[in-house]
Protein backbone atom coordinates (compact mmCIF):
# COMPACT_ATOMS: atom_id res chain seq x y z
CA UNK A 1 0.00 0.00 0.00
CA UNK A 2 1.54 3.30 -1.06
CA UNK A 3 1.12 6.71 0.59
CA UNK A 4 -1.80 7.79 -1.59
CA UNK A 5 -3.66 4.53 -1.16
CA UNK A 6 -3.15 4.70 2.56
CA UNK A 7 -4.39 8.29 2.64
CA UNK A 8 -7.60 7.24 0.91
CA UNK A 9 -7.96 4.21 3.15
CA UNK A 10 -7.63 6.47 6.20
CA UNK A 11 -10.02 9.06 4.79
CA UNK A 12 -12.66 6.45 4.02
CA UNK A 13 -12.71 4.52 7.26
CA UNK A 14 -11.11 6.54 10.05
CA UNK A 15 -14.25 8.51 10.97
CA UNK A 16 -16.37 5.44 11.47
CA UNK A 17 -13.59 3.68 13.40
CA UNK A 18 -13.10 6.77 15.56
CA UNK A 19 -16.82 6.91 16.34
CA UNK A 20 -16.88 3.23 17.24
CA UNK A 21 -13.90 3.57 19.58
CA UNK A 22 -15.13 6.86 21.01
CA UNK A 23 -18.49 5.36 21.99
CA UNK A 24 -16.75 2.40 23.57
CA UNK A 25 -14.13 4.27 25.58
CA UNK A 26 -15.95 7.59 26.10
CA UNK A 27 -12.86 9.76 25.81
CA UNK A 28 -11.89 11.89 22.81
CA UNK A 29 -8.12 11.73 23.23
CA UNK A 30 -8.06 8.00 23.91
CA UNK A 31 -10.33 7.43 20.91
CA UNK A 32 -7.99 9.47 18.69
CA UNK A 33 -4.93 7.58 19.96
CA UNK A 34 -6.58 4.20 19.49
CA UNK A 35 -7.77 5.17 16.01
CA UNK A 36 -4.21 6.08 15.09
CA UNK A 37 -2.94 2.79 16.50
CA UNK A 38 -5.65 0.87 14.61
CA UNK A 39 -4.56 2.31 11.27
CA UNK A 40 -0.90 1.89 12.12
CA UNK A 41 -1.47 -1.80 12.74
CA UNK A 42 -3.72 -2.05 9.72
CA UNK A 43 -0.97 -0.59 7.54
CA UNK A 44 1.72 -2.88 8.96
CA UNK A 45 -0.37 -6.03 8.66
CA UNK A 46 -2.19 -5.23 5.46
CA UNK A 47 -0.67 -8.29 3.78
CA UNK A 48 -2.58 -10.53 6.22
CA UNK A 49 -5.93 -9.20 4.98
CA UNK A 50 -7.30 -12.04 2.87
CA UNK A 51 -10.29 -10.23 1.42
CA UNK A 52 -12.85 -12.68 2.81
CA UNK A 53 -14.51 -9.99 4.89
CA UNK A 54 -15.05 -6.35 4.07
CA UNK A 55 -12.04 -4.19 4.78
CA UNK A 56 -14.09 -2.13 7.23
CA UNK A 57 -14.91 -5.25 9.22
CA UNK A 58 -11.24 -6.16 9.29
CA UNK A 59 -10.18 -2.71 10.50
CA UNK A 60 -12.98 -2.68 13.06
CA UNK A 61 -11.74 -5.98 14.42
CA UNK A 62 -8.31 -4.45 14.96
CA UNK A 63 -9.97 -1.51 16.70
CA UNK A 64 -12.00 -3.87 18.88
CA UNK A 65 -8.89 -5.76 19.97
CA UNK A 66 -7.22 -2.48 20.86
CA UNK A 67 -10.23 -1.39 22.92
CA UNK A 68 -10.15 -4.68 24.80
CA UNK A 69 -6.43 -4.22 25.43
CA UNK A 70 -7.17 -0.70 26.67
CA UNK A 71 -9.76 -1.98 29.15
CA UNK A 72 -7.41 -4.72 30.27
CA UNK A 73 -4.70 -2.15 30.98
CA UNK A 74 -7.23 0.05 32.73
CA UNK A 75 -8.24 -2.81 35.01
CA UNK A 76 -4.60 -3.26 36.05
CA UNK A 77 -4.13 0.51 36.51
CA UNK A 78 -7.07 0.60 38.97
CA UNK A 79 -4.75 -0.92 41.54
CA UNK A 80 -2.31 1.96 41.31
CA UNK A 81 -3.77 4.69 43.58
CA UNK A 82 -2.45 7.89 41.93
CA UNK A 83 -3.19 6.86 38.37
CA UNK A 84 -6.66 5.52 39.22
CA UNK A 85 -7.61 8.88 40.82
CA UNK A 86 -6.47 10.70 37.68
CA UNK A 87 -8.40 8.25 35.55
CA UNK A 88 -11.63 8.84 37.51
CA UNK A 89 -11.37 12.59 36.95
CA UNK A 90 -10.86 11.97 33.27
CA UNK A 91 -13.97 9.80 33.06
CA UNK A 92 -16.18 12.60 34.33
CA UNK A 93 -15.46 14.80 31.33
CA UNK A 94 -18.28 14.71 28.82
CA UNK A 95 -17.32 15.21 25.19
CA UNK A 96 -18.43 18.50 23.64
CA UNK A 97 -19.75 16.66 20.62
CA UNK A 98 -22.37 15.01 22.80
CA UNK A 99 -23.24 18.14 24.80
CA UNK A 100 -23.87 20.08 21.59
CA UNK A 101 -26.50 17.55 20.54
CA UNK A 102 -28.76 18.31 23.48
CA UNK A 103 -29.82 16.96 26.83
CA UNK A 104 -31.60 13.88 25.52
CA UNK A 105 -28.51 12.63 23.81
CA UNK A 106 -26.28 13.41 26.79
CA UNK A 107 -28.49 11.27 28.96
CA UNK A 108 -28.69 8.48 26.44
CA UNK A 109 -24.92 8.59 26.13
CA UNK A 110 -24.62 8.32 29.91
CA UNK A 111 -27.02 5.39 29.99
CA UNK A 112 -25.12 3.72 27.17
CA UNK A 113 -21.83 4.11 29.00
CA UNK A 114 -23.29 2.22 31.95
CA UNK A 115 -23.97 -0.86 29.86
CA UNK A 116 -21.54 -3.73 29.91
CA UNK A 117 -19.02 -3.75 27.07
CA UNK A 118 -20.65 -6.66 25.23
CA UNK A 119 -24.03 -4.89 25.08
CA UNK A 120 -22.45 -1.55 24.26
CA UNK A 121 -20.63 -3.06 21.31
CA UNK A 122 -23.64 -4.73 19.79
CA UNK A 123 -25.77 -1.58 20.15
CA UNK A 124 -23.08 0.61 18.62
CA UNK A 125 -22.70 -1.68 15.64
CA UNK A 126 -26.33 -2.53 15.06
CA UNK A 127 -28.19 0.62 16.08
CA UNK A 128 -25.67 3.42 15.78
CA UNK A 129 -23.44 2.31 12.91
CA UNK A 130 -26.26 0.45 11.22
CA UNK A 131 -24.23 -2.68 10.44
CA UNK A 132 -26.03 -5.78 9.28
CA UNK A 133 -26.40 -8.82 11.54
CA UNK A 134 -23.93 -10.74 9.39
CA UNK A 135 -21.34 -7.95 9.50
CA UNK A 136 -21.78 -7.50 13.25
CA UNK A 137 -21.37 -11.22 13.78
CA UNK A 138 -18.13 -11.17 11.79
CA UNK A 139 -16.75 -8.18 13.65
CA UNK A 140 -17.58 -9.53 17.08
CA UNK A 141 -16.80 -13.14 16.26
CA UNK A 142 -20.27 -14.23 17.35
CA UNK A 143 -22.98 -16.27 15.69
CA UNK A 144 -25.84 -14.39 14.05
CA UNK A 145 -28.24 -15.77 16.68
CA UNK A 146 -26.04 -14.39 19.45
CA UNK A 147 -26.03 -10.99 17.77
CA UNK A 148 -29.84 -11.00 17.62
CA UNK A 149 -30.21 -12.14 21.23
CA UNK A 150 -27.69 -9.70 22.56
CA UNK A 151 -29.24 -6.78 20.65
CA UNK A 152 -32.59 -7.47 22.31
CA UNK A 153 -30.97 -7.90 25.73
CA UNK A 154 -28.86 -4.79 25.31
CA UNK A 155 -31.92 -2.71 24.41
CA UNK A 156 -33.76 -4.08 27.43
CA UNK A 157 -30.80 -3.28 29.68
CA UNK A 158 -30.59 0.23 28.23
CA UNK A 159 -34.30 0.81 28.80
CA UNK A 160 -33.95 -0.49 32.34
CA UNK A 161 -31.15 1.98 33.07
CA UNK A 162 -33.26 4.78 31.63
CA UNK A 163 -36.41 3.82 33.56
CA UNK A 164 -34.62 3.21 36.82
CA UNK A 165 -33.03 6.58 36.36
CA UNK A 166 -29.83 6.07 38.27
CA UNK A 167 -28.45 9.57 38.11
CA UNK A 168 -30.55 10.43 35.09
CA UNK A 169 -33.20 12.98 36.02
CA UNK A 170 -33.51 15.16 32.94
CA UNK A 171 -36.99 16.23 31.82
CA UNK A 172 -36.04 15.86 28.18
CA UNK A 173 -35.14 12.26 28.66
CA UNK A 174 -38.30 11.42 30.55
CA UNK A 175 -40.30 12.57 27.58
CA UNK A 176 -38.81 9.85 25.40
CA UNK A 177 -39.52 7.02 27.75
CA UNK A 178 -43.14 7.98 28.33
Amino acid sequence: MNRNQFGKFYEDYSDSIYKYIFLLVGNKETAEDLTQETFYRGYNHFDTFNGKAQIQTWVRKIARNLVYDYYRRKRIIQFIPFISKYDQRDKQLLPNEIIEKGEELVLLYNALSKLKLEYKEVLILRKIEGSSIKETAKTLGWTEAKVKNNTVRALQALKKIIVEGGDIHGEGFRSIIK
Binding site: Y18, Q36, E97, K101, L105, L108, K127, I128, G130, I176
Partner: protein, 112 residues
Protein backbone atom coordinates in the same frame (compact mmCIF):
# COMPACT_ATOMS: atom_id res chain seq x y z
CA UNK B 1 -40.46 4.41 23.08
CA UNK B 2 -38.71 1.83 20.93
CA UNK B 3 -38.71 4.15 17.93
CA UNK B 4 -37.57 7.12 19.97
CA UNK B 5 -34.75 5.09 21.38
CA UNK B 6 -33.79 3.89 17.91
CA UNK B 7 -33.93 7.45 16.60
CA UNK B 8 -31.76 8.74 19.42
CA UNK B 9 -29.27 5.92 19.07
CA UNK B 10 -29.10 6.70 15.38
CA UNK B 11 -28.50 10.35 16.22
CA UNK B 12 -25.40 9.34 18.14
CA UNK B 13 -23.92 8.30 14.80
CA UNK B 14 -23.80 11.94 13.74
CA UNK B 15 -21.14 12.77 16.29
CA UNK B 16 -18.55 14.72 14.38
CA UNK B 17 -14.87 14.19 14.76
CA UNK B 18 -12.72 17.24 15.27
CA UNK B 19 -11.28 17.78 11.78
CA UNK B 20 -8.18 19.52 13.12
CA UNK B 21 -7.47 16.64 15.45
CA UNK B 22 -8.09 14.19 12.62
CA UNK B 23 -5.57 16.00 10.43
CA UNK B 24 -2.99 16.05 13.22
CA UNK B 25 -3.57 12.38 13.91
CA UNK B 26 -3.06 11.50 10.24
CA UNK B 27 0.10 13.59 10.17
CA UNK B 28 1.48 11.79 13.21
CA UNK B 29 0.53 8.43 11.74
CA UNK B 30 2.30 9.21 8.46
CA UNK B 31 5.40 10.31 10.35
CA UNK B 32 5.30 7.16 12.43
CA UNK B 33 5.11 4.95 9.36
CA UNK B 34 7.86 6.93 7.65
CA UNK B 35 10.10 6.73 10.74
CA UNK B 36 9.56 3.00 10.89
CA UNK B 37 10.62 2.64 7.28
CA UNK B 38 13.82 4.69 7.72
CA UNK B 39 14.63 2.86 10.94
CA UNK B 40 14.11 -0.44 9.16
CA UNK B 41 16.46 0.64 6.36
CA UNK B 42 19.07 1.79 8.87
CA UNK B 43 18.83 -1.48 10.76
CA UNK B 44 19.22 -3.40 7.51
CA UNK B 45 22.42 -1.56 6.67
CA UNK B 46 23.75 -2.18 10.17
CA UNK B 47 22.97 -5.89 10.10
CA UNK B 48 26.40 -7.05 8.78
CA UNK B 49 28.15 -4.88 11.36
CA UNK B 50 26.07 -6.39 14.17
CA UNK B 51 26.85 -9.88 12.88
CA UNK B 52 30.57 -9.09 12.75
CA UNK B 53 30.55 -7.72 16.33
CA UNK B 54 28.69 -10.79 17.51
CA UNK B 55 31.16 -13.16 15.85
CA UNK B 56 34.06 -11.20 17.37
CA UNK B 57 32.48 -11.40 20.79
CA UNK B 58 31.96 -15.16 20.56
CA UNK B 59 35.56 -15.70 19.38
CA UNK B 60 36.85 -13.49 22.22
CA UNK B 61 34.97 -15.44 24.85
CA UNK B 62 36.20 -18.70 23.34
CA UNK B 63 39.82 -17.56 23.42
CA UNK B 64 39.50 -16.30 26.98
CA UNK B 65 38.00 -19.51 28.29
CA UNK B 66 40.34 -21.82 26.35
CA UNK B 67 42.58 -23.84 28.70
CA UNK B 68 46.29 -23.07 28.33
CA UNK B 69 49.02 -25.71 28.57
CA UNK B 70 50.60 -25.89 32.07
CA UNK B 71 53.90 -24.05 32.15
CA UNK B 72 57.04 -25.03 34.10
CA UNK B 73 56.24 -22.37 36.72
CA UNK B 74 52.74 -23.83 37.25
CA UNK B 75 54.12 -27.33 37.67
CA UNK B 76 56.71 -26.27 40.26
CA UNK B 77 54.13 -24.30 42.20
CA UNK B 78 51.73 -27.26 42.18
CA UNK B 79 54.35 -29.66 43.41
CA UNK B 80 55.31 -27.32 46.24
CA UNK B 81 51.70 -27.03 47.33
CA UNK B 82 51.40 -30.82 47.41
CA UNK B 83 54.48 -31.04 49.59
CA UNK B 84 53.04 -28.55 52.09
CA UNK B 85 49.77 -30.45 52.26
CA UNK B 86 51.56 -33.73 52.80
CA UNK B 87 53.55 -32.26 55.66
CA UNK B 88 50.58 -30.65 57.45
CA UNK B 89 48.14 -33.47 56.78
CA UNK B 90 47.89 -34.52 60.46
CA UNK B 91 46.71 -31.02 61.48
CA UNK B 92 44.16 -30.60 58.75
CA UNK B 93 40.99 -32.23 59.95
CA UNK B 94 37.33 -31.54 60.19
CA UNK B 95 36.31 -29.61 63.28
CA UNK B 96 32.60 -29.68 64.02
CA UNK B 97 32.27 -26.73 66.35
CA UNK B 98 28.51 -26.59 66.06
CA UNK B 99 28.15 -29.84 68.01
CA UNK B 100 29.90 -28.44 71.10
CA UNK B 101 27.74 -25.27 71.49
CA UNK B 102 30.25 -24.13 74.05
CA UNK B 103 33.06 -21.63 74.10
CA UNK B 104 34.98 -23.82 76.54
CA UNK B 105 35.46 -26.58 74.00
CA UNK B 106 38.49 -26.23 71.75
CA UNK B 107 39.81 -28.48 69.07
CA UNK B 108 42.63 -30.72 70.28
CA UNK B 109 45.92 -31.34 68.57
CA UNK B 110 47.63 -27.96 68.50
CA UNK B 111 50.06 -27.91 65.55
CA UNK B 112 52.68 -25.87 67.56
Amino acid sequence: MEKDLDRLLNELSYIKRDSKQKQQSFQKLSERIHDDKTLGKKLKSWKPAFALILVGLVCGIYLLTMQSQPTMQHTVRGEKMNEIFDHDQSYIQTMTLSNSHSLRSFPTGDPS
